[in-house]
């Protein structure tokens, strides 16, 4: 039965929107089953989630893009096929997104102001991109600095979702030497619940999962110490990587195009950062579950971790020193040689002085005087 044929479909809800797009209940339940599994919720929550989402009013969402590359938006909108994830995004009320919306200029800003006013305290604020603090003029929208726009929009937000590594941890704009003084959303906003969805870009279904959780429970999912949903960022890519057995066997690719690499051997020696990167790339994958970077033959670069760009060379193994060089060790050896020579000279001088000061004992001195 199509959802549209069900009598309990309420107008203006997500359920109505799904029904209009011909999504049957079975498909929608399958989607919710996958989401509950991804969110590490009990299977019994599937029906509750389906009911909650289908009855939810279209959630007002304001999406602000600051210092970013639009990769996060590209990731979400350009999925391999028009999936249910896309549809869910279609069904939220995306009231402001300066890349996707048709309006521009004052009309666009008016839409944002109207959405903020009409849904004060209820709208979801999605932010991608870092905020430059060095100079307000480094990045502006309609003449408003990123900082001012964020502070204004955050006031009436029910929660903030920081999407992408730039918004969550500063990302590439914050990389050394951080010329714009870029900071993350959580560095500025302290009085609102913030969900960090890092990744460069983040996986679309993670975004959907967070939204679904918010629509179902009206609250944010359980987060880790970095503000990331535990259900998606609870384990490392390495732990779920299909190349992991080769790591355990000590079988490693030496170059990106050798036989070992083609046979799926571990990319650790080529700089894979999977062991220290918490994300679901290895299980959820990209492009409709087709593949993920490691499966495509490239090591993980750790893009969902804070300061990943400054965490050492991308193509050197995690166990290798970041900046130690042979010349550095040569200098240390030279210093050791000089210090050793100085100590040797001192020791020998002490020895020679002791020898020179040594007074020989004569036989007479050893004769005991009779009292």
């Amino acid at each position: 039965m199509k959802l549209a044929e069900k009598p309990d479909i309420l107008p203006g809800t997500v359920g109505e929107g799904l029904a209009q797009r011909g999504i049957c209940r079975r498909e929608f339940l399958q989607f919710c089953t996958a989401l509950t599994a991804l969110l590490a919720l009990p299977p019994t929550m599937t029906v509750a989630m389906a009911e909650a989402i289908s009855k939810a009013r279209r959630q007002s969402v304001i999406w602000l893009s600051f210092q970013e590359c639009t990769g996060c938006t590209e990731s979400i909108t350009r999925s391999h096929t028009p999936t249910l994830e896309n549809l869910i995004f279609d069904l939220i009320s995306l009231d402001y997104h300066h890349t996707l919306q048709a309006a521009s200029g004052e009309a666009a800003e008016h839409a944002r102001e109207l959405a903020m006013k009409d849904n004060f305290g209820k709208y979801l604020l999605i932010v991608d991109g870092a905020i430059p603090m060095g100079n307000p003029g480094f990045s502006t929208i309609a003449g408003i600095s990123n900082y001012d726009m964020l502070m204004e929009a955050a006031k009436g937000a029910a929660a903030i979702v920081a999407v992408g590594t730039c918004a969550t941890f500063g990302g590439i704009p914050k990389a050394d030497p951080n010329p714009t003084g870029a900071v993350a959303v959580s560095d500025i906003i302290k009085d609102k619940p913030i969900i960090n969805v890092p990744g460069c870009p983040p996986i679309p279904v993670v975004m959907t999962g967070v939204l679904a959780h918010f629509l179902t429970f009206g609250s944010i999912p359980e987060l880790d110490s970095l503000g990331r949903p535990k259900s998606f960022y609870g384990e490392t890519i390495h732990d779920h990587c299909y190349r992991r057995p080769f790591y355990d066997q000590g079988k490693f690719a030496q170059t990106f195009d050798d036989d070992a690499a083609r046979q799926g051997w571990c990319l650790f020696k080529l700089g894979c950062k999977g062991p220290v990167t918490y994300n679901v790339c290895a299980t959820t994958k990209w492009n409709d579950g087709t593949s993920f970077p490691i499966q495509s033959g490239h090591g993980c670069i750790g893009c969902s971790e804070p300061n990943f760009w400054d965490a050492g060379p991308l193509y050197e193994a995690l166990s290798m020193p970041i900046s130690a060089t042979a010349s550095m060790l040569g200098t240390a050896a030279a210093v050791g040689t000089a210090a050793g020579a100085a100590i040797t000279w001192h020791n020998r001088s002490t020895k020679a002085a002791a020898k020179a000061a040594h007074e020989k004992v004569t036989v007479q001195e050893l004769i005991r005087e009779d009292k």
């Binding site: 490392t236 732990d239 490693f252 804070p306 166990s319 020193p321 550095m328 050791g336 210090a339 020579a341």
Partner: protein
């Protein structure tokens, strides 16, 4: 400072300083040892014993006869610990990568479960040797703070490495950072404590073998 930051610091500046102090310390100590010199032995050698120093390097590295009767815990514990430690250092793929990055020398690694087993054996051996040291009156009397410091500095990299590999207790990135910090500490302590025997053991064995050979004493 987040965990990746800490790991970056451990692999970066901290490791650089530790490596430099270690290399400088080793060269300094070797200079110090060789610079002290020995008085020329003017006595005629009892027997003609060329190569007795080299011979001793090997003979004293092999299990001696009757070791199980004399000091079974010391000998077996010592062998298990040292072999396990060397296996972990020299045959775990990430460690080989570290060595290769510094020296351009590399060799095949062992499967991780084998290295893991050798680490467990080493940790157990270290525990047994410490218990023996504390229970044996002579050893306890001979032991000082430096000995216990060396024991701790040796145990920490093994323990943190094992815990990192098995994702025990704390988050992996943080544990890996702690593992590398513990290695940094070991590198700094190595030249300036009894751990320097890593570099002086064969020198002293050669010297003992050579001098005993000249004196006609079995070594």
């Amino acid at each position: 400072m987040n965990h990746l930051h800490l790991l970056t610091f451990a692999r970066g500046s901290a490791l650089n300083w530790a490596l430099m102090l270690c290399v400088a310390g080793i060269v300094l100590r070797l200079f110090e040892i060789f610079g002290l010199g020995r008085k020329t032995d003017l006595a005629k050698p009892r027997i003609n014993s060329p190569g007795s120093g080299w011979h001793t390097i090997f003979s004293r590295s092999l299990p001696p006869q009757g070791m199980l009767k004399r000091e079974p815990v010391t000998y077996i514990g010592g062998y298990v610990f040292h072999l396990g430690l060397l296996t972990a250092i020299l045959f775990f793929a990430p460690h080989i990568e570290l060595i290769r990055s510094m020296t351009r020398l590399g060799w095949p690694s062992l499967p991780s479960p084998l290295v893991d087993a050798s680490v467990v054996a080493s940790i157990i051996a270290l525990g047994v040797l410490l218990a023996h040291r504390l229970n044996n009156p002579v050893k306890r009397l001979l032991s000082g703070l430096c000995d216990y410091l060396a024991w701790t500095a040796t145990l920490l990299p093994l323990l943190t490495g094992y815990m990192a590999y098995h994702h025990l207790f704390i988050e992996y990135t943080l544990m890996l950072a702690l593992h590398i910090f513990s290695v940094d500490l070991l590198l700094v302590l190595l030249p300036f404590t009894k751990l320097f025997h890593t570099f002086s053991v064969f020198i002293s064995r050669w010297y003992n073998g050579d001098i005993f050979g000249r004196k006609g004493v079995a070594s």
